[in-house]
Amino acid sequence: MKLRGLQVDVKTKEIKEVFEEISDEEYQKRLEEAKKAEEEMRIREMIEAKKREILERQAIQELIKEGKLKEDIKINY
């Protein structure tokens, strides 16, 4: 697997195209690590969204019980 890069030497201001060879195994490993991290992030975000939704629903119910909100209140999550 060849990585194609643009390398800027800040002293000479020269920009050149460079290539870096990495093994297919290394590239696959990097991709898998990244996919795993992305999946973990997606799950965390899903859990956070659900936690917030549940908390908001409970809070609304409590406020209705206390007579501070009308029963037909609608909140978009």
Binding site: M1, L3, R4, G5, L6, Q7, V8, D9, V10, K11, T12, K13, I15, E17, V18, E20, Y27, R30, L31, E33, A34, A37, E38, E40, M41, R44, E45, E48, A49, R52
Partner: protein, 219 residues
């Protein structure tokens, strides 16, 4: 004969290739004209020039800029001296050349092993805010074929750890999102000599992506 010439040319303004008068030239410097045939007064006074030099010494200096002309994997700045610059600031607007979302990593001194870095991120999507810590140096995430704007502040801290934080604007219209990240390396460094922005996916930094690197201090 010589004493006659000396008597005639006792003043600078009497020469043929100099101004005929000093009137209105207080504080001005003299320079060779553009035709390289005579001396003329500068537009600015010496104190104005000195002030401009002082201002220049106290503003950030652009180190380099790159506009990606065809899709690539990474953009790397070499020949840096973080010990002299103290702080670098990278301004970037990047586009995803692929139809898969991917991370943009920031590597220092050629160390492209993701496990040598950690990043803490906060993501704000409307009223939903989430946080996570990942074992890689992600400075931005680009959605499918999406563009984004981000800036990264970079330094080597007094304990010699590489540190950065980034601020990202991604997605468009009513889906616009804010992402803030703070990252570090797991081991110390002696200097910052190179910085590389690399896409997680192959050939994924699209043509038209722009990067400008500034340094905060003139060494």
């Amino acid at each position: 004969m010589l004493h006659i010439i000396r008597a005639a040319l006792r003043k600078f303004i009497q020469l043929e290739d100099t101004p005929n008068s000093y009137s209105g030239l207080a504080g001005k410097l003299f320079k060779v004209n553009s035709a390289e045939t005579a001396l003329e007064a500068s537009t600015n006074t010496d104190s104005e020039i000195a002030e401009a030099v002082n201002v220049a010494a106290n503003v950030m200096e652009k180190v380099a800029e790159v506009e990606v002309s065809s899709d690539c994997d990474y953009v790397e700045f070499t020949g840096l001296d973080g010990n002299s610059a103290w702080f670098y600031i990278l301004l970037a607007t990047a586009k995803n050349a692929t139809s898969s979302a991917y991370d943009l990593y920031l590597y220092v001194n050629g160390d492209t092993d993701n496990t040598h870095y950690y990043t803490q991120q906060l993501r704000a999507n409307d009223t939903s805010i989430s946080g996570t810590r990942i074992n890689c140096p992600t400075v931005a995430v680009l959605g499918e074929n999406e563009g984004c704007l981000f800036e990264v502040k970079i330094t080597k801290d007094p304990n010699d750890y590489f540190r950065f934080f980034s601020n990202v604007s991604r997605f468009t219209g009513s889906s616009v999102e804010e992402m803030i990240r703070s990252g570090t390396k797991t081991s110390t460094i002696t200097n910052i000599t190179s910085l590389r922005i690399q896409a997680q996916n192959a050939n994924a930094i699209a043509a038209g992506s722009k990067f400008i690197l500034f340094k905060a201090r003139r060494g």
